[in-house]
């Protein structure tokens, strides 16, 4: 009899790179026979056979930002691109979770910043996908963003994982809106509850700190739509720091930004303002975490697979098992 723990079979692992986070969809060491049969089961149930791969999340590059909180402009972003291009295990794609650019009301300047973003991101040797942040799309309803990148929400499948890009900025407010919710429900309807789903968006879909505008007003409706699905990972940005939150079947991870950091919302006082962490010229990337790569795992910092079922963590960014109990019937 093949005995294996399906909960250990397929998972997303993440490790802080400073350049956002690298997630790995991986199968642990199992007997090939058991692994093969279970993959075949998933192929029948989900329509595509999941195969191991990794991807990277970048967030909040804010191209065009010029202020004391980070006088280095795009340096962290460019460094992150170089870092990903140098990974010995090439990720399949990079997801950007919004605020690609810093907005400008000078004629033509925001469009120039979009072009600069595309130029830098275009140096990635792997494909990338984007969702807008409020600095990209809230002032003009997403017009400029769509011209540069296409639709602000969409979905696609990759190696058995369903990716959903959600726009919670272009209405001007922290909201997804009724039309997008309807689209989401229709998009999800074709999947079985076991389907591995990765949602990526800009703002948190839950009330992290509403008085800092760290919420999505109709995020509860998004989570209700996702609730029947057993393997949901939500990646977001906006808060310029790592954060992990589990609610129902979904685990939410925020990535660090590639510009200044923000303080810990839970450690800050109730009435504390949301102010960027001060820039330290002696440690210019400290809040972006680049130095943590070598501190954490110098041998193979790019992938660190930890079994979430056991509630173990890498210590830097959370890890989400994306396949829990399957139904073999």
């Amino acid at each position: 009899m093949d005995i294996f723990d399906r909960r250990r079979f397929l998972k997303i692992a993440g490790v802080s790179l400073g350049a956002g986070a690298l997630y790995s969809v991986a199968a642990p060491a199992l007997g090939e026979g058991a692994a093969g049969r279970f993959m075949e089961l998933l192929r029948k149930k989900n329509g595509e056979r999941p195969t191991p791969f990794s991807f990277v999340q970048f967030s909040d590059t804010h191209v065009g930002f010029d202020g004391p909180a980070d006088p280095l402009g795009t340096q962290a972003f460019e460094r992150a691109v170089d870092m990903v291009n140098a990974l010995p295990e090439r990720p399949d794609l990079v997801l950007f979770t919004g605020d690609l650019t810093h907005d400008s009301e000078k004629p033509g300047e925001h469009a120039d910043r979009m072009r600069l973003f595309k130029k830098i991101a275009g140096r990635l040797t792997v494909p990338f996908r984007v969702v807008p942040g409020e600095h990209d799309a809230a002032l003009d309803g997403g017009t400029l963003f769509r011209d540069a990148f296409g639709e602000t929400h969409y979905s696609f499948d990759h190696r058995g994982v369903h990716f959903i890009a959600l726009d919670n900025v272009s209405l001007g407010k922290p909201a997804v809106g009724a039309a997008q919710l309807e689209w989401l429900r229709a998009d999800l309807a074709r999947f079985p509850r076991t389907a591995p789903i990765v949602v990526y968006t800009h703002r948190p879909l839950f009330d992290l700190r509403p008085d800092w505008e760290w919420f999505t007003s109709d995020g509860d409706q998004v989570l209700n739509a996702l609730a029947p699905y057993e393997n949901v990972t939500v990646l977001y940005g906006h808060i310029h720091r790592e954060h992990e939150h589990t609610e129902g079947n979904a685990t939410h991870y925020a990535s660090r930004s590639l510009i200044f950091g923000f303080p810990d919302p839970e450690a800050a006082g109730k009435d504390a303002p949301r102010k960027p962490l001060p820039f330290d010229a002696t440690r210019p990337f400290q809040n972006l975490g680049i130095r943590r790569v070598t501190e954490r795992a110098p041998a193979r910092p790019e992938v660190r697979t930890v079994d979430l079922t056991l509630r173990e963590y890498s210590g830097t960014v959370g890890i989400q098992q994306i396949l829990k109990e399957g139904d073999e019937s």
């Binding site: 009301e105 809230a138 002032l139 407010k173 509403p210 008085d211 505008e213 009435d271 303002p273």
Partner: protein, 122 residues
């Protein structure tokens, strides 16, 4: 429910008619909520702080003077859009003393993140 609503509306209408005379009773005048005017303009609310009494019904009359702003407080369950030039009336009866932050949650430009005000309930 409908009957109750009609009765309530009827009572309100009667109370309203009672205040139309030249010498309306003082008690009827006192029932009108105090109106607190607030102005929104990139990137600040004016005033930045208001003080309300616990249990006192007030109407916040909020007007945007330039672009669309938001007026959001999770604690007060208030989430309003403020279109330019229009005054939005927000009824409010604070139940608990405390300091409450109201933010603009409609992105209005690069100073948007600091656009907020405080309601102090005493």
């Amino acid at each position: 429910m409908k009957t109750l609503r009609r009765l309530t509306l009827g009572a309100a209408l009667a109370a309203s008619l009672a205040t139309l005379g030249p010498a309306a009773p003082a008690s009827a005048r006192d029932e009108q909520p105090r109106v607190v005017a607030i102005h929104a303009k990139r990137f600040a609310f004016e005033p930045k702080e208001i003080h309300l009494a616990k249990g006192e019904p007030v109407t916040l009359a909020v007007t945007s003077e330039d672009v669309t702003h938001g007026f959001f407080s999770r604690q007060f369950h208030v989430d309003e859009d403020l279109a330019p030039g229009k005054t939005v009336s927000i009824p409010l009866t604070p139940a608990e003393p405390g300091t409450y932050t109201v933010i603009c949650d409609h992105y209005c430009g690069s100073g948007h993140g600091g656009m907020k005000m405080v309601i102090v309930v005493e």
